[in-house]
Chain length 312, copies 2
């Protein structure tokens, strides 16, 4: 069993503070380092008290069981951070980066703790949405993957391990695919911004809140499942893949999107809007979890040797 | 105000019976015609009693206020049906096709009721998911669009009107975009089928159950909204659009998907699995509706001249 030690949070921006909240909620101590953030700002964001803010990076990471780095997306800055924190962490401590733009091989270049470095990419907000994409680089030690997986599962998250590094990891590639078609619907004059959103919230969104795209088509294939689905609808979907076009985001489209987005949701009281969004997400997650569709317990349970022996 | 008249359901397959259930639930009478379906099968699928099954197409459509055609996806068959039912329906009755594969201009070719013919495409299951994509063709009378929109809204659905016909309409294009990336993740060895599904149900699915893709990025852009988002993340997403590849669905990938799908969800007791799925969808829809994100009432309210005058 993993001990519930201190977590070091490097970078206290939107994502770093989300990580801090999730760690605190699951009973972890949190040590924060951010050269630009002040105590008052962090106090406003974190209601629980078991966190410390450090002036020195070494103080923040020393004695931590896990380091989550959510620094600005500048590769030189990240490389410098890994070099600076390396002397202060234990040999078995994993350093995970929240980066959405760099691949683990970028992060590992010239870094002496490369074996314990990987991408641990959350989805905003990390204290609400459970996904963490673990992406090992070529130099990552397999043990580090297991440590990260167990750690995230202990926070109540649902880590998945990606077996190949690709730009955008996985979830943002899936999001980009939908945004391409959504932008293209507006750019081509097919649908309004509002109607594209309604198309999703009235069909695919609820479906994908309870079942992923593969389980969805498997069940929509009838008793023949995904095999029947591929036989009957596969060619139609492949034709749509070929029909897809990349829209040009010019100033006219940009203006259209900005003006329409303002009518979708008011960000005038931004904090309030985010709070309602987070409550809604938690409510949907808990509703979906009532239905045992994906055998969620089995999936989210951290791998453990006892359990494996029992199952075998 | 529209009167609650009889609805003619042409074709009693999966989609046709879903339409029948939605109509019956909202207090409509339903007249069904299907040369291949028998009374026993329909009795099993429909619990409410205010439906009739007809041997003659003319009998089914005569006196109906709306005709929903969900016949097999063969264009000659559909053209024949429109010709056969035309003499029996009133001049103001709209005929909507549930087709997912044909565009309205295909349907209208050589049809003498083309002005009252449009696509009214639901998302499976039509009695659970509220989306209806109304796609007028070049010959569709603008009045027919308003009639269809009011009719679907009266069934508690959320109709959207597409301003251009495109293969797959809109929602299936969005689904195809995600399936392309999902298939590619598996084909490229990036992720397992199960992990692709988890990536969606743990991040994008819950988000899109409460907010569409545009409202999501608007709120994720911070106080600067979608404008800030486009400035900062636009180039990254456009790079992912260019990085997207079309996977080849060969027999190896096919086999991999089929074997993995079987571990995701059991279709051994298919009816039971579908029932749980439908309950889960209804629960998520009702959870999402508790949060007034998209001003759902305003959006789903059918357009009416009284209301417009009041708002002005």
């Amino acid at each position: 069993m993993e001990k519930k030690g201190k977590v070091a949070i490097i970078g206290a921006g939107l994502i770093g503070l989300g990580w801090a909240r999730r760690c605190l909620k699951s009973g972890r101590e949190v040590a924060i380092w951010d050269p630009k953030s002040d105590r008052e700002n962090i106090e406003g964001a974190l209601s629980l008290s078991s966190w410390t803010l450090h002036d020195s990076l070494g103080d923040a990471v020393e004695g931590a069981v896990f380091v989550q780095e959510s620094a600005p997306e500048r590769i030189e800055l990240k490389h410098q951070l890994y070099a600076d924190l390396a002397p202060w962490i234990g040999d078995d401590v994993v350093v995970a980066s929240s980066t959405s733009t760099f691949m683990p091989s970028d992060l590992q270049k010239g870094v002496n703790i490369a074996g314990r470095l990987l991408v641990g990419h959350p989805f905003n907000p990390p204290d609400v949405l459970p996904l963490v994409e673990i992406v090992p680089g070529p130099a990552t030690d397999p043990d580090a993957i297991a440590v990260a997986s167990n750690f995230y599962a202990s926070l109540g998250q649902r880590p998945i391990v990606l077996h190949r590094e690709r730009p955008g990891h996985l979830a943002n590639r899936l999001q980009a695919a939908v945004l391409r078609e959504a932008f293209d619907a507006v750019a081509s004059g097919q649908a309004s911004v509002r109607d594209v959103d309604i198309a999703i919230t009235s069909s695919l969104g609820p479906r994908w809140a309870i079942q992923g795209p593969f389980a969805s088509i498997h069940l929509n294939g009838g008793v023949g499942g995904i095999a029947h689905y591929l036989d009957h609808l596969g060619p139609a979907f492949e034709a749509l893949w070929r029909d897809a076009t990349i829209p040009t985001v010019d100033s006219a489209l940009r203006l259209k999107l900005i003006e329409a987005a303002r009518t979708l949701i008011s960000t005038e009281n931004y904090e309030a809007a985010v709070n309602i969004r987070n409550q809604a997400l938690l409510a949907v997650l808990s509703t979906a979890a009532r239905f045992d569709f994906e055998d969620r317990d089995r999936v989210s349970e951290p791998p453990s040797s006892d359990r494996a022996a029992h199952d075998a």
